[in-house]
Amino acid sequence: MSISLTRKHFLGLAGATLGAAAMAACAGPSTDGAGTALKTLSPDEWSKVKPASSISFMSSHPGKSRDTEVKLIEAFQAANPGIKVNLITGGSNYEEVAQKFQTAQAGSEVPDVVLASDVWWFRYAVSGAILPIDDLLKAVGVSTSDYNPGLIGDYKHSNQQWAVPYARSTPLFYFNKDHFKAAGVPERAPATWEEFAEWAPGIKEANASSSGYQNAYQYPAIAGYAGWTLQNVLWGQGGSWSKEWDITADSEASVAAMQWVQDSIVKHGWAGVSSKNAITDLQAGAVSATISSSADLAATLKAAKEANMRIGVGFLPGGSAASTQVCPTGGSGLVIASKTSPERQLAAAKFVTFMTNAQSTMALSSATGYLPVAEAADISSIVAQTPEFKTVVDQLKVTRTQDFARTFLPGGDQELAKAATKIMNEKADVKSTLTQLKGTLEGIYNKDVKPKLKA
């Protein structure tokens, strides 16, 4: 009796195992060479689609914006009673969200709307993970001209729109007014790095006696997008990481700029590199100035007020070759996943346009310091509340498109950070480090980007 019973169980178990193995075998990539072609609907077809009743939004809540996002989602659900939005925390930064979204591609369920930073959306577009949204925007009655032209223009590739701007920022020059005052230098951001280099020794000397004081200037932590903020120094001296697809990291001007950076740390000793978060170092009174994202503005000013510390902000300093247009934009946009249904994509389009309309973008801007992305946004109320916010908006007019080497090469940002580590922390030879960097970046371009651009 027991024999037949156990045998039956055993066979059942074996069957279940085979089933599981067969199911699991569905995952993983195919090697037959034929990628799945992306299908999108025409504007006519979109108008016949009924939006799905539930979608998901994966975010890292940039600039500590979780509460704002929850409120915006509630407002969206009130305006669109048929659609429910699930907010998913995809990690604590853009990279962790990207990791989750890309891993999700191997399964059957992907988030509908995803936060994608400047270095990720292009990769998604090339790999087919996201949808071009031109027709979708039309279907929900939104035009690209409703957005700031520079910010929405960043997401164009092969004449298609791939994202809408959402949590967009520029770096800002943050400084401790009391430290500047103690040194007798003007309480403003320097116009150029040359000017700051003149002030710096005095600033350091005047504040050296206070406990825990380290440097006049703190470079942002390498792990926190060093390649992004260093573009400012490079551009000011006429250098760049790249010009379009041409890698210029080892050009004479680029080498001179990075040499200047190394000298400020090693030779002149008035600058340091943050271990974790430069803006925290500034708030701790350990440094007199730093560069950080405008997303940190609201939180930094609030913390400074509580600590009775006077913090000022200004445009990024220029350099010997260029005094303006030396500031990159950054931050993230919203993309719509391709691996879902038209119903969900239409609901997603309604959601992303709501999250970036004039009213929503104002809510996010005032809570964080991100740029207002909608043209119709009226910033006067935010400026009345936080006068420093005007600097953020004004600087947007003099920004420059980021170097392709950082934004469009997979792992490019990581390579820039590696080179920056060598130059800034290990005192490596600047010229040879940048020459090596160029070789690596060209290798990535030829292997991972060039073939896909032609296709």
């Binding site: 055993f10 990539p29 825990g212 590199v273 943050s274 974790k276």
Partner: protein, 342 residues
């Protein structure tokens, strides 16, 4: 056993049966004469008869008990392992639906790039220092805790506590301690007029930092296992040696260390495996792997960092797997011979 008394090994074997001694005995027999019949065949014959006598019921009971475990191991250990080896032959971007087969291309790239020497070097330094550090310090702590001291139980608990803490929590707290700007270590150093080293930014110091934290966390494990080993050493042996006039050092080297060798062997294998798989502390303290890219962390960074090279990452994990396999085999084959079982 009818053996010559000059054969020391077989005397030991006859008095103390054990895995190693069996092997020694067999080797000695082979050395004496390969044609001398040994008492194995009858044993094997008994086994066979016993097997034949087993009822079908017994067989099915065995299958019913063993099958679920075997199936789970096959499904969740061996299947991913084999799939991973397959992935290592692909040029596959994480998240992409298609991939290109490149054969051993990923391995060729890894071993011909400067990354290989860097990653393998970091792995070797990290493994040797963490295993060596935790075992030596663990033994010293165990020796101290084996004395009759006041508050011994409390001290034992304190020493073991870090081991059961979450690695992520430990990493975060130590990161604050090491922070050169507002960390408590920099505060202490400033107090004596020193500038804090750049623990995070300097790749060499970053490796030192994670090594210190890793040893701190795992020291308790070695200490507790060594303590158990120390307590199993018969006191009469130590007393006899003391009566014979052996010094403390002499007793430690000639009695304690040899009798602890099974413990040391066990700790060596488990610590080596866990050091080579150390991830949480490294990931939390040095998220970009600056100077701390061990094999397992580099494998993670390649796939889930900004490169998204899933195939290349799989190849690195296969390198790690083969390394672990070889090391374990070597340990079982050679190191175990030197171990004394009491």
């Amino acid at each position: 056993m009818g053996r010559s008394n000059t054969d020391g090994a077989s005397v030991a074997a006859s008095t103390a049966p054990g895995g190693m001694h069996d092997r020694v005995r067999t080797e000695n027999r082979d050395a004496q004469s390969s044609r001398v019949p040994v008492d194995r065949p009858p044993l094997a014959g008994i086994k066979r008869r016993r097997w034949n006598r087993r009822t079908r019921k017994d067989t099915w009971v065995f299958v019913a008990f063993a099958a679920p475990n075997i199936l789970l191991i096959l499904l969740f250990t061996y299947r991913p392992l084999i799939t991973n080896i397959y992935y290592s032959t692909l040029d596959w971007t994480l998240g992409s639906a298609s991939a290109t087969a490149v054969g051993i291309g990923n391995y060729v790239e890894f071993f011909s790039s400067p990354d290989a020497s860097n990653v393998l070097g970091v792995t070797a330094i990290f493994t040797v220092t963490t295993v060596g550090g935790a075992m030596i310090l663990g033994l010293l702590v165990a020796l101290a805790l084996n004395q009759r001291l006041k508050g011994r139980t409390f001290a034992r608990a304190v020493v073991f506590a870090p081991y059961v803490l979450s690695g992520v929590g430990v990493g975060l707290v130590w990161l604050f301690i090491f922070d050169p700007t507002y960390g408590v270590l920099s505060w202490i150093l400033r107090g004596v007029g020193q500038v804090s080293p750049q623990w995070v930014n300097d790749p060499k110091l970053a490796l030192v930092m994670v090594t210190i934290v890793y040893v701190w966390k795992n020291l308790g494990y070695c200490a507790v296992v060594y303590l158990a080993g120390l307590q199993s050493i018969p006191t009469q042996l130590m007393e006899a040696a003391a009566l014979d006039g052996a010094s403390n050092v002499r007793r430690f080297l000639s009695i304690v260390v040899p009798l602890l060798s099974p413990t040391t062997f066990f700790l060596l294998i488990t610590s080596l495996l866990s050091s080579l798989q150390a991830f949480d502390i490294i990931r939390i303290m040095t998220p970009s792997g600056n100077g701390t890219s061990t094999l397992i962390f580099d494998s993670y960074l390649q796939a889930f960092g900004s490169y998204n090279r899933a195939g290349y990452s799989a190849a690195i994990s296969v390198v790690l797997f083969v390394g672990l396999l070889i090391m374990t085999a070597v340990q079982l084959r050679f190191v175990e011979r030197k171990v004394h079982y009491s």
